[in-house]
């Protein structure tokens, strides 16, 4: 009888102490726009590596399709669970503000990564590269290849994705300021499927026989648009580019359907995101230049806009694509 009680108390003490110990490790979460795609998988891998390096628990959960409502639900769930810092790659910027406000009351810090909601009160935006540089680089590189008076089409993914729309806006700005003779067509939205992207790309080429280039803005549209060029037999007549991962683009870079792609290392972005989460939990402010253990170059922070910047965009071509695996 006495032994039973002793065992019960011992068990209770064990459970409480382990849960107290478990609570000791801060939790950082990241909610991507969509789970199961190579880009966000790489971010997850980077996040896990950082979690190990910095001693945090990393939670990775996301919607199964690019649905902002599902994403917000996951965010609310994590807030209720008491995760201390939650990063989100925003699908719909307009609905984030009230969630952030109520999360602050519960002591939960919400920040953005990969796709921003600038006016929502988020703690920081971990940016892969500056949005304007991403838009400018892709236009500059494409104009180098198609000439400065060509017609260029845009195939995007979801019409509400902040990051995609921001890059398109900067593309349009660059064309207006630097290449006035370039005709940049209105973007077409393919949703999330390669089939629709291929169909739209083919139809753009049909409607504009003098089309010289197509920009595939969402990574899910990359294979579809590039394949459309090959199927139509227009390799070297129409150059495809986009924010595509080297693994997806490899075959098309080598066949010539894709001229180049512009991106950054998503694993590094995931790593930086978790580091930023830990800094926020520890209430350590960001310096103008930060040395992050595990990243080989200093990370700059702009306090006016609240942007933590990973670095300049990288350009992948047939020559260098084999050096990367994501």
């Amino acid at each position: 009888m006495f032994r039973g009680k002793l065992l019960a108390y011992a068990a209770a003490a064990l459970v409480l102490s382990t849960s107290a110990w478990a609570q000791g490790k801060p939790k950082v979460a990241f909610i991507p726009q969509l789970i199961g795609i190579p880009y966000f998988n790489a971010m997850e891998a980077g996040g896990k590596k950082a979690a190990q390096a910095f001693g945090v628990d990393f939670i990775y959960q996301g919607p199964v399709d690019t649905n902002p409502v599902d994403q917000l639900q996951i965010l609310n769930n994590l807030v209720d669970q008491g995760v201390q810092a939650i990063a989100i790659s925003v699908l719909d910027a307009s609905s984030l503000e009230p969630v952030i406000a109520s999360a602050k009351k519960k002591g939960v810090i919400i920040f953005t990564s990969d796709s921003d909601a600038p006016k929502s009160g988020r703690a920081v935006y971990v940016a892969q590269a500056r949005d304007d540089q991403l838009g400018f680089t892709i236009i500059d590189e494409l104009v180098k290849r198609v000439g400065d008076d060509a017609k260029i089409g845009i195939v995007s993914g979801e019409a509400t994705a902040t990051n995609l729309n921001t890059w398109i806006k900067y593309m349009q700005q660059r064309v207006k300021e630097k290449y006035p003779k370039i005709k940049l067509l209105e973007p077409k939205y393919a949703g999330g499927t390669a089939q629709r992207a291929a169909q739209l790309a083919t139809e753009l080429m049909t409607a504009n026989p003098d089309l010289k280039g197509i920009i595939a803005v969402a990574s899910t549209t990359c294979p579809g648009v590039a394949q459309a060029i090959e199927t139509a037999g227009k390799i070297n007549k129409v150059i495809v580019t986009g924010y595509c991962s080297p693994n997806t683009a490899r075959a098309y870079l080598k066949s010539g359907a894709m001229g180049f792609t512009v991106l950054w290392d998503p694993a590094e972005l995931g790593y930086l995101t978790v580091w930023a989460g830990k800094q926020l939990i520890d209430k350590k402010p960001f310096a103008a230049e930060n040395n992050v253990p595990g990243i080989d170059h200093p990370i700059s922070y702009d306090s006016a806009t609240g942007v933590l910047l990973l670095g300049p965009p990288a350009v992948f071509t047939a020559e260098n694509v084999d050096k990367f695996n994501f």
Binding site: E186, K188, A194, E203, L204, T206, T220, A251
Partner: protein, 304 residues
Amino acid sequence: MVLACLAATIVFSLASPWFLTIENLTTVARASVELLIVSLGMTIVLAVGGIDLTVGVTMAIASFFVGRALMIAVPAPLAALLGPLVGIFLGAVTAGVIVLGSVPPIVATLGLYGVFRATIYALLGGEWLSGLPDVLAPLVRPTILGIPSVAFELAALYVLAWGVFRWTPLGVWWLAIGGADAASQLAGVPVRRAKTAAYLASGLLAGIAGAFYVAQYRNVEMTTGSTIALDAIVASVLGGASVTGGRVSVLGTALGVILFRILQNGFVLIGVPSLWEQVVAGLLLLAVLATENAAKLRALVMAR
């Protein structure tokens, strides 16, 4: 339905000089391949008064196996055959749940949709299949007299299905079950076997569509096929299938798919902003159905 297609064709060819070109019509045809195949399966399932929301993910899983086979250098014909095989297997699972489990088709296929989608996520493991070897091109590239051979293959498939509905006992059973399930059973129709055949057919066709998808697009993402189930239902209903079963039109389904793709294609050619495309397509769908219903109503009134 024929009138609607003709009307759309006329409108678009007047509005855009590129619509009625061989190149553009080929584009419409190519974009319709998987939808035509899957819609045929959906028509069969609708005939028995059921529905199959799993066809999209079934197509995706079939595509995955075809793609993986290509990646390990399995000869093209064998790899292509994997598509329908996987499709039949998944169709059998669906049939099992609906027929053996007596679960209402919409609930069953909705649940299985979730299971199959988790499966494709797990199979892909976050790595898309991209830039697959082009060896399945003979499925889709060859042309006979300028018309893609796929058109003839699909026409043959549709004629076969039409024949089944018209002349074989199975077809009669399908329509009977859709029209009056309990009455058919009492009349001696092998309801369970016929329903199983319907879902097997739907799965088989989705698997075939998967092989064609890999041939055309050379990639498999987890979003592959995500929109096709609803599109197939729209096409079948546009074509004259009754949602409650018992009445279908195989030719109507084909025309429904073609009208759907013509609309999508035409809108891009005349420069309708992407976002308006869905609004206009939805309104046109309602308009076509309303006029057909109005005609039926008028015929009913006249008959009195």
